[in-house]
């Protein structure tokens, strides 16, 4: 079976730093940035991008539709 690799893109300016995605990620891909966005929130970012399996749990739970998930077979 082909292995699936994923990657996420976070719309930084729309993120309010609620950390729901971070908790929902089964592989610990997502972390909260030390830097803040234009509104002053610590935004979510792929802290360990290699671990992403493209399950899209984060995108489903995100209350603001901030995360886009891409999947590729390798």
């Amino acid at each position: 079976m082909a292995k699936i690799r994923g990657s996420i893109v976070v719309n930084i300016e729309r993120c309010k730093g609620c950390e729901v995605c971070m908790v929902s990620c089964p592989t610990g891909t997502i972390g909260m940035a030390k830097e803040v966005n234009g509104k002053g929130y610590n935004y979510a970012y792929p802290a360990n991008p290699d671990l992403c399996i493209g399950c899209a749990s984060c995108a489903i739970v995100c209350p603001d539709g901030v995360i886009t998930v891409y999947k590729t077979k390798i």
């Binding site: 309010k16 609620c18 509104k39 002053g40 929130y41 209350p63 603001d64």
Partner: protein, 356 residues
């Protein structure tokens, strides 16, 4: 027109609510966590559709004084801000209350004191309810606990403001402002074409001059004016109390909480009942006027009352006054932008039960 369902942020609901309530003007200055209100208004361009003016003032002081001016002309005007911005507005708010003008102020509270944090808090209760500015005045304070209420209370707030000629404040917090929920949008209300008889819009021959001021140099006359205000506040206390009860009928232990804390407590009541603890929740919807009588009534039926707030304990004082010593009243709160978890709230209640 039929009702429309939309998924939106609490802040966006306030903005949409203002347009649909037939507001004439919005004056504000952006501050996290309520910047989406002015962003949404600027994006929807209501001046092209309903004719509502939207203006970003140079500061919070400017925006509240623009509201003062607009209200003096008998217009439906509003401003929004978050805690530090509302502190800046206090002078304007007490002047508006002193001049008996209607307006709507929305406070999307964040943690304090000072600049504090940008996360949700309820630490502005005393400022909103007891009067953050000087002088004997009160605002009518509405506390929404959902995005739907953020929308509904804009229209309700304007109605109350014009009914009593008194500023109304919607005391929300960062969590409700930022969360997204379904909202049933009510149809558009026309902007009012008539001007109230007290408004300063130029003197025709048919009436005397209208004067709007909060200044009186004669103390005798000022006292008469103050007594008139007290009479108005007492009327509001009698007629405008709003609250919501959740499983209070057979409750042995009562939570009192508003806004975000009430949502947490609702879950806590369910958790407690699963463990056989008969808990209930009373949620004040109006913080001024406070549901004094109902709390006093319930105090005769329950064993203890726990006031849950995201503050060091501000509403708990009003709860104690309402209970008047009938049962023990305790406070549980998180501060600085932290939100209590439901199990935390249940644990705290259990500790009180064993301890008491």
């Amino acid at each position: 027109m039929e009702k429309e369902l939309r998924l939106m942020k609490g802040n966006e609901a306030v903005a949409e609510g203002a347009i649909r309530a037939g507001a004439d003007g919005y004056f504000g200055y952006p501050i996290t966590p309520q910047s989406e209100i002015i962003e949404y208004l600027m994006e929807s361009k209501p001046w092209e559709t309903t004719g509502m003016v939207v203006l970003q003032a140079e500061s919070e002081l400017a925006s509240i004084n623009m509201v003062y001016g607009g209200a003096g002309c008998g217009k439906k005007v509003m401003t929004t801000s978050s805690s530090p911005g509302i502190s800046l507005m206090q002078e304007g708010i007490t002047y508006i209350a002193g001049a008996e003008l209607p307006c709507l102020i929305v406070n999307v509270v964040r943690g304090g004191p000072g600049l504090g944090t940008i996360q949700p808090s309820q630490s502005d209760y005393s400022q909103a309810v007891k009067g953050g500015g000087h002088g004997d005045y009160h605002l009518i304070v509405l506390a929404p606990a959902s995005v739907q209420e953020m929308f509904d209370f804009v229209s309700l707030g304007f109605d109350l403001a014009f009914k009593y000629r008194n500023p109304v404040m919607i005391l929300s917090d960062g969590a409700i402002g930022q969360m997204m929920e379904k909202v049933w949008l009510s149809p558009y209300r026309e902007r009012s074409k008539t001007v109230p008889e007290w408004a300063t819009t130029g003197k025709p021959d048919s009436r005397k001059r209208n004067i709007i001021t909060s200044l009186e140099l004669d103390p005798n006359r000022q006292e008469i004016f103050n007594q008139k205000l007290v009479k108005k506040y007492n009327l509001i206390r009698e007629t405008e109390v709003r609250f919501e009860e959740f499983q209070c009928d057979d409750a042995e232990y009562l939570y009192v909480a508003y806004g975000t804390s009430a949502r947490v407590c609702q879950k806590a009541v369910e958790l407690a009942r699963n463990e056989g603890i008969r808990a209930g929740l009373l949620r004040p919807v109006t913080l001024f006027p406070f549901p004094v009588e109902r709390i006093n009534e319930l105090a005769g039926k329950v064993r203890l009352i726990l006031s849950v707030e995201m503050s060091a304990g501000q509403m708990v004082e009003d709860v104690m006054l309402s209970v008047a010593g009938k049962v023990p009243v305790y406070h549980y709160g998180r501060m600085g932008g932290m939100i209590p978890a439901p199990d935390e709230v249940v644990e705290n209640l259990k500790e009180r039960i064993i301890g008491g």
